[in-house]
C-alpha cells in the first residue's frame, strides 16, 4: 500500500490564483504595519509572565513511610527523589495513553485493512498489550515506592500536552492507516528515548534491581520502534531491510551504553541467564515483559461498584474491546462485538 495521498482540489496554496495573490501582496504595500518591531515582542510578554514563577503543578505529597524517609534523606543530601517519581509518573501516563493509541490503531486496521509488508491485526494488538503491561510495571513500581500511581505528575501532564495531537490523528475517520502509523511513530520515538533515561536515573537513585526488572520494557519498545519503522517503509515503498538494519544498529548502541549494559549485568546475575551487555546483539533479548493480569480477569473493585458503575446500563467502551486470554495465555484484543445496551 502506498499512501492514499491523491491529487485533488487542495485550495490552500496562494499560487492557485496568481492574480489574487498579486492583489494580496499589493495590499501589504499600501497598508503597512501600525507599529514597528518583530516577533520578539511575543517572547517579551511570555518572559514577563515567567518571572512570576508559577509552576504548571507540583508533585503530590509522599503517601507512605518509605517515601517520606526517602524525601527526608534527599532533603539532607540535596538529592531529588521527586524528580524520579515525576518521571516514573510521566512514563506511566504515557504507557496508559499509548495503550489507547494502539487500540485506536487496531480499530483503524479494522476499518481500512492492512497492506503488503504492513502489520496484521494481531501484530498491532500484541503491541497494545505490551504497552498495557508497561503501564502495569510502572504502576507496581510506584506502589512499591509508596507513591500514588493515580496522581498526574507535572512531567506526565506536560508530555500529555505535547502529545495531544496523537489521538486526534488516530481517531479521525478521515485519516488512513499509514498516516496513523506516522503518529504512533512519534509516540514510539518518545518512548524509546525516555525509557533508557528513566532506567539510568532509577539505577543512580539506588533502585538498581527495579531498573533491571524494567529492562524488558526497553527491549520491547525497541521492537515496537523497529516494527513501526519497517511497516512505514513497506507502506511507502522504501527498503524495509535498510530500515531494519538501521534500527538494529541503533538498538545495539543503546543496549551497549554504560548505564544499560550495567543493568543487563545486574539482570544476568539475578536470573543467571547469562545475557549481558557483551552478549547483546542488537536484537532484543528473549526475556519478555512479565505477564500481567488481563482486564477480563480483573475483578471490579468494590469502590467502583459502590459508585454504581457495575449497574450502569449504558454501553461502555470496554464492552467494545474485550480482552480475553489467548491460547498462549497472552492478553489479546478481540474484535469488537456489536453489543447493544442491556
Amino acid at each position: 500500500m502506498k499512501s492514499e495521498t491523491m491529487l485533488g482540489t487542495n485550495r490552500t496554496g496562494a499560487k492557485l490564483a496568481p492574480e489574487m495573490l498579486e492583489e494580496m501582496v499589493s495590499g501589504t504595500q499600501e497598508f503597512p504595519p501600525t507599529s514597528a518591531g518583530d516577533a520578539e515582542g511575543l517572547a517579551d510578554i511570555r518572559n514577563a509572565y515567567s518571572e512570576e514563577g508559577e509552576p504548571i503543578g507540583t508533585m503530590p505529597p509522599p503517601t507512605g513511610v518509605k517515601q517520606l524517609a526517602k524525601t527526608a534523606a534527599a532533603a539532607v543530601t540535596g538529592g531529588a527523589p521527586m524528580q524520579l517519581l515525576d518521571l516514573i509518573g510521566e512514563r506511566l501516563a504515557f504507557e496508559r495513553a499509548g495503550t489507547r493509541l494502539w487500540e485506536a490503531l487496531v480499530a483503524k486496521h479494522d476499518a481500512t485493512g492492512g497492506f503488503k509488508g504492513g502489520p496484521s491485526r494481531d501484530d498491532i494488538a500484541h503491541i497494545r498489550d505490551e504497552e498495557l503491561q508497561h503501564f502495569e510495571l510502572l504502576r507496581e513500581l510506584m506502589e512499591r515506592l509508596d507513591a500514588d500511581p493515580t496522581a498526574v505528575t507535572p512531567a506526565a501532564d506536560i508530555q500529555a500536552v505535547a502529545s495531544m495531537g496523537l489521538p486526534q490523528v488516530l481517531t479521525d475517520p478521515r485519516t488512513d492507516f499509514l498516516q496513523c502509523l506516522e503518529a504512533v511513530l512519534v509516540a514510539e520515538l518518545v518512548d524509546n528515548d525516555c525509557w533508557p533515561s528513566l532506567l539510568e536515573l532509577l539505577a543512580e537513585a539506588g533502585y538498581r534491581d527495579e531498573a533491571a526488572e524494567l529492562l524488558c520494557a526497553v527491549e520491547s519498545e525497541r521492537e515496537h520502534l523497529e516494527k513501526v519503522r519497517s511497516w512505514l517503509a513497506a507502506g511507502q515503498g522504501r527498503s524495509v531491510e535498510a530500515v531494519r538494519n538501521l534500527s538494529q544498529a541503533e538498538t545495539q548502541t543503546i543496549m551497549a551504553s554504560p548505564a544499560i549494559a550495567a543493568l543487563m549485568g545486574t539482570r544476568a546475575e539475578t536470573t543467571g541467564d547469562g545475557t549481558d551487555a557483551a552478549g547483546a546483539t542488537g536484537r532484543t533479548t528473549k526475556r519478555r515483559t512479565p505477564r500481567t493480569k488481563s482486564r477480563a480477569s480483573t475483578k471490579k473493585s468494590p469502590a467502583r461498584t459502590a459508585r454504581g458503575r457495575a449497574g450502569d446500563e449504558k454501553p461502555r467502551a470496554r464492552d467494545k474491546k474485550r480482552l480475553t486470554k489467548g491460547a498462549a495465555g497472552k492478553t489479546v484484543t478481540k474484535s469488537p462485538s456489536r453489543r447493544k445496551p442491556r
Binding site: 489574487m20 494580496m24 501582496v25 501589504t28 499600501e30 503597512p32 501600525t34
Partner: protein
C-alpha cells in the same frame, strides 16, 4: 430558488427529526473546500446560536409561549449541532478564529453594501474595519506562534493588512450604543441585516471567551482577551440597532425569517454538494418554523404576519471577495471614531473613550505587540527571512 415567505410552509415542525448519527456528519475539508464554505458554516452556527439565545430569553419573559418555544428550540439545538460539527478536527481554534474574522469581513461588507439606511450602513462599515484589523492581528499570531500562513485559510479572498488599529477600538460603553431602525418604517432587508450581523458577532464573542484560555502563550491569551472585549462592544453596537419596541413575537418571527434568509443565501452560493444539501434541508425546516411562529403571531397579536414579513427575500448575502469595497472604506474611514451614537471623523477631546482606552492599554497593547512590524508574506513571515538569507535572530537575542 424563488421562495414565498407568506405561502411556503416548508417542513412542518412535527416532521423535523434527527438521529445522533445524522447530527454528526463528515466535516468539510480544511484543505480542499472553498474558504466560503467555512465562512458559511461559522456564520450559520452563529445564526442558530442566536436562535437558541433569543428563544431562551423569550421563554423567561413569556410563560404562555414557553411550550411553543421549547418545541422549536429542540430543532434549533440540533440544527446548530449539525452545522457546527461540520468544522473539522484538524482545524485548530486559532484557525477557526481566522474563519470567524473572515465572516465578519466578507458578510459585513455584503450587508453594508446592501443596507439602504445610510446611518446603519455607516455602522456596518465602522465595525467592518475593526474586524478587518482583527484578522490581521490573529494572522500575525498564527504565523509567529505556530509558524503558519493565514492565507491558507482565507485563500486570497480577504486582505491580511491592518484596518483601524485594535488599539483604538476600546471605547467607553456609551460610545458603543447606536440608534435603532424604526420597526414601522424599516425595510425588510434592514431588519435581516441587523439580525444577521448581531448573531454573527455574538457568537464570535462567545467563541473567543471560550477558547481564549485554551492557549498557553500569554501573548495569545492577552490578544483573545483584548479582541473578545471588542466583540462584546460590537454586540452592544449591533443589538442597539434593532428596534427595542418590537414585541417578543415580532422578534421571534424576525429571527425565524433571518434564519430562513441566511440558509437561502447559503443555498445560492454553496459549492460543496453535501453541505448544500444541509442548507436546503434547513431552509425547509426554517420555513416550517416561520409558518409555526407566524400562526402564533397572528393568534396572539391579532396582526397579519404580512405586516412584518415580505413575500419574497431581498437579495442574498454575497459570498464573494469584497476586496475593493473594503479597501475603499479603509482609505476613507479608517480614522473614524464613535462619539455617542454618531460616527465622527475626529474624536472629541473630551471623549470618555480616551481615558478608558488609555487605562486599558496602560500595561501595553497585545494587538500592537503581536503584530509589531508584521507584513503578511505568502508562505509566512519566515519565508521572507529565509529567502533574504538575513537570519537575524541570533544576533538580536543575547
Amino acid at each position: 430558488m424563488a421562495i414565498d415567505l407568506l405561502k411556503d410552509r416548508g417542513v412542518p415542525l412535527e416532521k423535523q427529526s434527527f438521529t445522533w448519527r445524522e447530527l454528526v456528519q463528515a466535516p468539510y475539508s480544511k484543505l480542499d473546500d472553498d474558504a466560503f464554505t467555512r465562512v458559511r458554516v461559522i456564520l450559520m452556527n452563529g445564526i442558530e446560536s442566536e436562535a437558541l439565545r433569543f428563544q431562551h430569553a423569550c421563554a423567561r419573559m413569556n410563560a404562555d409561549l414557553q411550550m411553543a418555544l421549547a418545541r422549536v428550540r429542540r430543532v434549533e439545538q440540533h440544527q446548530q449541532t449539525m452545522v457546527n460539527w461540520l468544522n473539522p478536527a484538524d482545524q485548530s481554534p486559532l484557525e477557526t478564529t481566522i474563519g470567524f474574522e473572515q465572516v465578519a469581513i466578507e458578510v459585513t461588507a455584503s450587508v453594508a453594501m446592501a443596507e439602504p439606511d445610510p446611518y446603519l450602513a455607516q455602522q456596518y462599515r465602522f465595525g467592518l474595519l475593526e474586524d478587518f484589523d482583527h484578522l490581521y492581528r490573529y494572522a500575525a499570531l498564527y504565523d509567529r506562534v505556530e509558524g503558519k500562513d493565514a492565507n491558507t485559510l482565507v485563500q486570497s479572498y480577504s486582505d491580511i493588512v491592518p484596518g483601524r488599529p485594535t488599539f483604538f477600538h476600546h471605547r467607553y460603553p456609551d460610545d458603543n450604543v447606536r440608534l435603532p431602525y424604526d420597526r414601522r418604517q424599516a425595510q425588510a432587508i434592514t431588519k435581516l441585516n441587523a439580525y444577521t450581523i448581531m448573531a454573527g458577532e455574538h457568537q464570535t464573542h462567545d467563541y473567543y471567551m471560550n477558547i481564549g484560555p485554551t492557549f498557553s502563550d500569554p501573548a495569545a491569551r492577552q490578544l483573545y482577551a483584548e479582541i473578545a472585549s471588542v466583540e462584546e462592544q460590537h454586540v452592544t453596537q449591533y443589538e442597539s440597532m434593532i428596534d427595542a419596541s418590537e414585541s417578543w413575537l415580532e422578534k421571534w418571527l424576525l429571527h425565524e425569517a433571518c434564519e430562513a434568509y441566511n440558509y437561502w443565501s447559503c443555498v445560492e452560493h454553496e459549492s460543496n454538494g453535501r453541505v448544500k444539501a444541509i442548507w436546503e434541508r434547513f431552509l425547509d425546516y426554517e420555513l416550517g418554523h416561520l409558518r409555526y411562529v407566524a400562526d402564533l403571531f397572528e393568534k396572539h397579536e391579532r396582526r397579519d404576519a404580512a405586516e412584518i414579513l415580505p413575500s419574497a427575500f431581498p437579495q442574498p448575502i454575497e459570498y464573494v471577495s469584497h476586496r475593493e469595497f473594503v479597501r475603499d472604506v479603509l482609505r476613507k474611514e479608517v480614522h473614524f471614531r464613535a462619539s455617542g451614537t454618531a460616527i465622527v471623523e475626529r474624536e472629541p477631546d473630551d471623549s470618555p473613550s480616551i481615558p478608558y482606552r488609555e487605562q486599558m492599554n496602560a500595561d501595553g497593547s497585545p494587538s500592537e505587540t503581536v503584530a509589531a512590524g508584521y507584513v503578511w508574506t505568502p508562505g509566512g513571515e519566515l519565508a521572507a527571512e529565509a529567502m533574504s538569507g538575513s537570519t537575524t535572530h541570533e544576533e538580536t537575542r543575547p
